[in-house]
Point group: C4
Chain length 258, copies 4
C-alpha cells in the first residue's frame, strides 16, 4: 500500500516534470531576455526597465511555485529536499540583489536536471551548454555591477565577455577585472565554476584516455579470454563424463543378475 | 605479551584522541578568534591585543602538549613519528613569526586527522572545509602582513579574500598582490595549496568519471558473469559425477562375489 | 548489393584520402608560408602581398573542393556530415575575416584526421605537433590583428609568441594582451585550446600513472594467475577422467557375456 | 654468443653507472655552486667569476665524457641513442648561452635517471626534488638574464623566486615578469615545465583516488573471490573423481576372470 502510494507519488512527480519542462524553457528564455535587455541597452525608456523587472519577478515566482508543487508531489519529501538542496539554495539566494544573476543558474539547473541522462556525451553537452550560458550570464552580471562604478575598467559587454573568458580559463591577464564588491562576488563564483569546469574537462579526458589506451583494458580482455577457454574445457569435460556414464549403464545391462 | 602491550598502547592512544577531540575543536575556534579579531579590527584597545596573544600562546602550548601525550601513548613510537611528521613540522614551524598562520593549519590537521574516514564524500567535505578555512586564514595572514607596509595594495579584509581567491584559482589578475616578504611567503604556500586543491578536484572528478562511464566497469561485470556461468557448469558436473558414483556402487552390489 | 555499394563508397573515399594526403601537406605548408610571410615582414613590395593573398585563396578553394569530393564519395552522406561537422565549421568560419587564421587549423585537421592512429604515442605526437603549430599560427594571427591598432602592446613576433605561451599555459601575466576585437577573439579561441591542451596532458599523464602504478594492474594480474591455476586444475581433471574411462573399457572387455 | 656480448655490454654499462653515480652527484653540487655564486653575489672579485666559469666548463665536459663512455659501453647503441635522446639534447643545447641553465637540468636528469625506481613514492620524491631544484635554478637563470637590462622588474633573488612560483603555479600576477629575450625563453621553458608539473600532480592524485575509491577495486576483489570459489569447487570435483576411480579398481579386483 505504502509502496503503491510512494510509486504513485514518484509517477505524479515525473508526469508534472514532463508536462512543465517546455514551459520552463520558455520561462528561462523570457527571463534571460528580461535580464539581458536592460543591461545591454541601458538607454531604453523607463517603461522597458519596469517591464523587464516585472518579467523577472514573474518568472521567479513561477520557479518558486514549480518547486513548491514538486515538493508537494514528492512521495519521500525529506529525500526530495535533501536531493534538491542545491536547487533550493539557488532559488533562495538571489533575494540578495548582488546574486540576482544566480536566478538564471537556477532556471538552467531546473531545466537540465530533467534533461540530462547518464551517457557521457549527454553530460558533456550539458556542461558545454551550461558553460556557454555561464559566460553569457556572468558577463551580463559583471557588466551590470561594474558599469555603475566610476573607476571600473569593464565598460562594454565585449569587455565583460573578454574578462569572463580570461577568468574561466584561469588565464587572468588583469587588463580587465571587477572593482566593485558586487562584481568581485560574481567573479569569485565564476572562479569556482572555472576550476570546476577545468576539472570536469580534464577528468573526462582522463577517463576517455583510460578507456582508450589503458593496459587494464587489454588485461581485462585477456582475462576474459582465459575464462572463455576454461568454460570450453569444462564443457568438454562434461561430454566426456557423459560417455563414461553411458558405458557404465551399458556395462550394467550386460552384468549378470547374479 | 609484546603484542598485548602494543595493542594496549594503540587502544590508549585511540581513547585519548576520542576524549580530547571535542576540546581540540574548542581550542581551534578559540585560537581562530584570537588570531582573527586583532587583524580584523586593529583599533581595539591594547589589552585586547595582549589577551589575543595570550590565547594564541595557550592554545599553541595545548597543541604541543597533546602531541607529546600522543607520542608517549603511542606503542610504536618510531612509526608514530614517521606517520605524524607533517603534524610535527606544522607544529614546529610557526615559531618563525611569518608562519604564525600555519598554527591554524596545525589545528585543522590534528582535528581532521581524527575525523576523516575513507569514504569519498567524507574526504570531499574534509577538503572543502579545509579550503574554506584556508581562504579565511590566508586572507587574515596576508592582510596582517601587508597592512604594515606603506606601498601595499591589499588594504581591507575583502581585498585579502579577493586576492586569496584569485590565487587559489590560479587566475591571478595581479590587481592585488603581496609586496612584503612575509606576504609573499604566505602567497607561495597558498599557490602550492591551490595547485594541490585543483589537482584534488580534478582527480576526484576523474575517478568519479571513470566509475560512472568507464568501459572497464562493464568489462568487469561481463567477466564476472562468465565466471558465474563457469561456476554453475562445474556444479552441474559434480552432480553428474555423483550419479556416476551411485551407479558404480549399485553395480558393485549386483556384482557376483566370485 | 547495397552493402557492396556502401563498401565500395568507403573504399573509394579511403583511396581518395590516401592519394590526396601528400598534396594536402604541400598545400598546408604553402598556405602557412603565404599566411606568415606578409605578417612577419610587412615591408615587402605590394606584389608579394597580392601573391600571398592569391595563394591563400587557392589553398582555401582546394580545401573546399577536397571536402566536396569526399562528401560526394562518402557512402553514408548524412553520417559523413555528422562526423565531419567540425571540419565543415572550420572550413566555413574563416569567411569572417577575423577568423582567417582558422583556415590553417582546418588544414591541420584535415591532414591529421587522416594521419592519426589510435596508439597513445601517435596521439601525443599529434597533439604536440598541433600545439607547436598553434603557438606559431596564433602568434601570427594576434600580431596581424594587433599591429594595426595604435595602443597595442604586442608589436613584434617575439612579443606575440611570448603572449601565446603565457595564454596557453594559463599563466597570463598581463604584460602583453590583445586590445583589438579581432585579437581578443583569437585569444578566446586560444584559451579554449589551452584549457583543452592542459586537460589532454593531465589526462594522458593520469592514465599513464594508472597504467604504471594502479593497484588494479596488480589485482588484474593476480586474477589472471588464479584463472591460469584453475585451467591447469581442470586439465588434470580431464586426464584423470580419461584413465577412469580406460579402466571402464578394460573392465567391460573382461566382463562375462552372461 | 651475441646474446652474451649484449648482456656483457649491459652489465658493463650498469657497473659504470653504479660506479660514477656518486661522482656525478658531487659534480652536480659543484656545478650548482659555480653557477649560483656569481649570480647571487655579483660583487665578487673577477678571479672568482673566472673560477666559476672554469668549474662550469669542467663539469660540463665531464658530463659529455660520461655520456660518451656510456654510449661506447652500450650493447645496443642505436637503442641507447633513442632512449637517451632527451639527455643528448639537454647536453647539446646549453652551447647556446641563453640556455646555460639547462646544464643543470642535464645533471639532474643524468643523476635521477639512475636513482629513480618504479614505485609511486619514489617517483613523487623525484618529481618533488626536481621541482624544488627547478625553482632554485630557474630563479637564478632569470635573475642572471634580467639583471643586465635597465627596465627589468626582477632585481633581487627573492623577486626571481617569487616570479618563478607565480609562473610554475600558473597564477601569473604580472607584478614581476621577464623583459629580456633570454629571460622570456627561460620563462617559456618554465611554463611548459609548470604545465607538466600540474599535470603530474593531478595525474598522480587521480590515480591515487581511483586506487582508493574506485568501484573497480571492489569489483576486482569480488571477481577474485568468485574465481577462488571456483577453484575449491574443481578441487572437490577431483577428490570425488579419485574415489570413483578407487571404486572402479576395487570392482575389477572382484570381477570374475571369465
Amino acid at each position: 500500500m505504502v509502496v503503491d502510494d510512494v510509486d504513485d507519488g514518484e509517477a505524479r512527480l515525473r508526469a508534472w516534470e514532463r508536462r512543465t519542462g517546455g514551459a520552463l524553457t520558455v520561462l528561462g528564455v523570457l527571463f534571460l531576455t528580461a535580464y539581458a535587455v536592460p543591461i545591454l541597452s541601458p538607454g531604453l525608456p523607463h517603461t522597458w526597465h519596469v517591464a523587464a523587472e516585472a518579467a523577472e519577478i514573474v518568472t521567479w515566482t513561477a520557479l518558486g511555485a514549480d518547486f513548491a508543487v514538486r515538493f508537494r508531489l514528492a512521495a519521500r519529501r525529506r529525500r526530495f529536499l535533501r536531493t534538491h538542496l542545491f536547487d533550493l539554495i539557488v532559488l533562495a539566494l538571489p533575494v540578495l540583489r548582488p546574486l540576482r544573476a544566480l536566478r538564471l543558474v537556477a532556471i538552467v539547473l531546473v531545466m537540465h536536471r530533467r534533461a540530462v541522462s547518464a551517457t557521457r556525451l549527454r553530460l558533456s553537452t550539458y556542461v558545454g551548454g551550461t558553460a556557454l550560458l555561464l559566460v553569457f550570464v556572468a558577463s551580463l552580471a559583471v557588466l551590470d555591477a561594474e558599469r555603475r562604478s566610476p573607476d571600473a575598467n569593464i565598460r562594454s559587454y565585449f569587455d565583460a565577455v573578454w574578462w569572463t573568458m580570461t577568468t574561466l580559463s584561469t588565464v587572468g591577464y588583469g587588463d580587465r577585472y571587477p572593482t566593485t564588491a558586487e562584481g568581485r562576488v560574481m567573479a569569485m563564483v565564476l572562479m569556482v565554476c572555472g576550476v570546476g569546469l577545468l576539472g570536469f574537462i580534464t577528468g573526462s579526458l582522463a577517463s576517455w584516455f583510460i578507456d582508450r589506451f589503458s593496459d587494464l583494458e587489454q588485461k581485462e580482455t585477456e582475462t576474459r579470454d582465459d575464462v572463455a577457454d576454461l568454460l570450453t574445457e569444462v564443457r568438454k569435460l562434461r561430454t566426456e563424463l557423459g560417455t563414461v556414464r553411458a558405458e557404465l549403464a551399458d556395462l550394467r545391462s550386460v552384468a549378470p543378475p547374479g
